[in-house]
Symmetry: C2
Subunit: 144 residues, 2 copies
DNA sequence: AAATTAAAAGAGTTTTTTATCTTTTTATAA
DNA sequence: TTATAAAAAGATAAAAAACTCTTTTAATTT
């Protein structure tokens, strides 16, 4: 569904949110370790997320990544669109061209409902909410 | 969600089912044209589907691909598993390790329901049903 | 039986994705 | 104000996916 880069991005965003309370910085090394991603690969991804202002970064000694209140409002959708683009939102599984509401393929209405739910989930689940649920202790992220 | 190969496979299966009533054969060229896929690429895919007996093939003059009654009972799931394997069914979107019902991540229950619906759709929609709906005229496959 | 047709099989090539390595820039601290 | 720490940027490299070309095998038709 998502590219590997995108999976890492989601994990990294959650990881930074978890580790960086009160603007404490999280280093690339920690992120790489915490998300089980290759260090230089996750570096590229963090750069992209940083460029798109989904996360804050500071160079130099004691530098690293952290999140603002606004960053915590980032949804899964925001991350996916930043890394994989919006093809997941625009395209259909079947990859058919020229189909529409008036000319639907046999699975259109079933599929549409599933997709609607999926997108709703990705739109409404923000990093911040994710974080709160984790903090509450009823949810977990083993081997994040 | 699916690989390109898998999308072609689904389209090709539907195309063959539509074109080959009463064991009439459909040639690779026709399939390539009908599915908008590169001829030699779809050839490989048809070979694989043939090897796994999801479609029948006959060589030589007047040869080509066709479907038996049993082939028409092939579900989307069968095609996906034949081409992409079952990672879509086993893995989670988030790609987290070591998560479970007792240690669920914050989106687990929401996601589980969506996945259940998606798999149900793929399990229950067979090429034959797809075909019937198309024949009935209330559904379409423009630019299949 | 020979010629022909069409898929199967095998062997590339190209493109995209994933991953790694090196150099540069920026901020901090001594 | 120099040394250092850490991210940004740039350049490769490896692996996987998508696509192409060539040869072989198996039917069919003449
Ligand atoms: S009709 Fe709907 S479900 Fe079918 S291919 Fe088009 S967008 Fe997808
Ligand atoms: S807990 Fe459930 S939803 Fe979350 S990563 Fe694991 S399988 Fe996926």
């Amino acid at each position: 569904m998502f590219s590997k880069s995108c999976e890492y991005a989601i994990k990294a965003m959650i990881f930074v949110a978890q580790k960086s309370k009160d603007e404490a910085r999280v280093s690339l090394k920690e992120i790489a370790k915490g998300t089980d991603a290759p260090e230089h690969f996750i570096a590229k991804i963090m750069q992209e997320l940083g460029r798109k202002r989904l996360v804050q970064s500071i160079k130099g000694p004691n530098g690293g990544f952290y999140m603002t209140e606004k960053n915590l409002q980032t949804s899964i959708t925001d991350i996916v669109k930043a890394i994989d683009g919006d093809k997941l939102y625009l395209d259909c599984v079947l990859g058919l061209k020229a189909c529409s509401e008036v000319n639907p393929c046999p699975v259109h209405f079933e599929y549409k409902e599933i997709k609607r739910n999926l997108i709703k989930m990705m739109d409404t689940n923000t990093i911040g909410k994710f974080n709160e649920k984790l903090d509450s202790g009823s949810f977990f992220l083993k081997n994040l």
